[in-house]
């Protein structure tokens, strides 16, 4: 994967396959401890304990068509490459949380990528799922939630072009405020 937004897209697909109705994505950059954390938490059907043990192996998968599943192992590899690690917490029928960390200043740390496009694409493809995005740095925090947007829109669907454009601008400004100058790929 070329950047974190593509990894995010990939991991959220697992939440969708697990029939989650809510997915919370949080990205935290803390320059004091030089740590970037990307966390994806869902309320899907969870992962069986027996599977959880070797979930990061590319040869672990629940799909029936073939014996490989690369998503989680690729994210773990990207994380390890930047002195970070990947943790998965899951409880059957309650949900799963995937947390990947990265050393911000590491030369091999993947750039953030287009987080906005990932979120908008997810909304278009799964408008019935509630997505929450929380971006934070040491002292500030930005929050976007599809549930709030839908409450405001009432009978107008969230997939209307005008609404999607508003969401794009809204998230982009959030990224700029929170990560501008904090992550060197985002200009302040």
């Amino acid at each position: 994967m070329r950047d974190l937004s593509l990894h995010l897209m990939d991991i959220v697909q697992n939440s969708i396959s697990a029939k989650a109705s809510e997915v919370c994505i949080s990205i935290t950059a803390d320059n004091k401890v030089d740590l970037l954390t990307m966390k994806i938490a869902d309320n899907g059907e969870g992962i069986e304990e027996s599977l959880l043990e070797d979930i990061t192996s590319p040869f672990t998968t629940t799909r029936k068509t073939r014996k490989v599943g690369m998503g989680i192992s690729l994210l773990k590899a990207s994380s390890n490459m930047a002195c970070g690690d990947l943790e998965i917490y899951s409880k059957r029928f309650e949900g799963t949380t995937v947390e990947a960390t990265f050393k911000i200043s590491h030369i091999d740390r993947l750039p953030l990528g287009d987080i906005t496009e990932t979120i908008v694409t997810l909304i278009i493809a799964s408008p019935h799922i509630e997505f929450e995005l929380v971006l934070s740095n040491e002292d500030d925090c930005f929050r976007f939630s599809t549930a709030e947007v839908k409450a405001q829109l009432k009978e107008v669907p969230i997939t209307q072009v005008e609404v999607l454009n508003w969401i794009r601008e809204y998230i982009n400004s959030g990224i700029k405020i929170i990560f501008g100058g904090v992550l060197n790929e985002i200009l302040s």
């Binding site: 994967m1 070329r2 593509l6 897209m9 990939d10 697909q13 396959s17 799909r63 068509t65 599943g69 690369m70 998503g71 690729l74 496009e117 990932t118 908008v120 694409t121 278009i124 493809a125 709030e148 947007v149 405001q152 829109l153 009432k154 009978e155 107008v156 209307q160 072009v161 005008e162 609404v163 508003w166 601008e169 809204y170 400004s173 405020i177």
Partner: protein
């Protein structure tokens, strides 16, 4: 900073137009969005489809995503299913190809044969 209150304005504006945009029985565009697809560039392909379809105001076309379609070496893969259930599978997609497919296949009903899986496998 933008605020949620702006959505109220958008809501009012789109409500008037919404009565014109009804019916969901048209074509379906399905983009393969598994690890293989994403790594090969499926996200910009899906964005291109959505953008082109909105630009042309094709309100009865739906764009969705699915998991791995099964031919990872030919990703990004896009399937287009018409009202009668006929399916065309396009492979090695790019945003540029997406624009052409919207214009020729979705609007004018002419399949872009050179982008299909049958051609790629020859």
């Amino acid at each position: 900073m933008k605020s949620l209150a702006e959505l109220e304005e958008i809501r009012k504006k789109t409500l008037d137009q919404m009565s014109l945009r009804k019916g969901n029985d048209g074509m379906r565009v399905i983009v393969g969005m598994a690890t293989c697809g994403i790594a090969a560039g499926a996200r910009p392909v899906m964005s291109a489809f959505v953008e082109e379809i909105n630009k042309r105001n094709l309100t009865d076309v739906t764009v969705t995503m699915t998991g791995c379609i099964g031919v990872c070496r030919l990703e990004p893969v896009v399937e287009i299913i018409d009202k009668d259930g006929n399916k065309v599978t396009y492979v090695k997609m790019t945003p540029e190809k997406a624009a052409r497919i919207v214009a020729e296949h979705i609007v004018n009903g002419r399949v872009c044969v050179d982008y299909t899986i049958g051609e790629a496998e020859k």
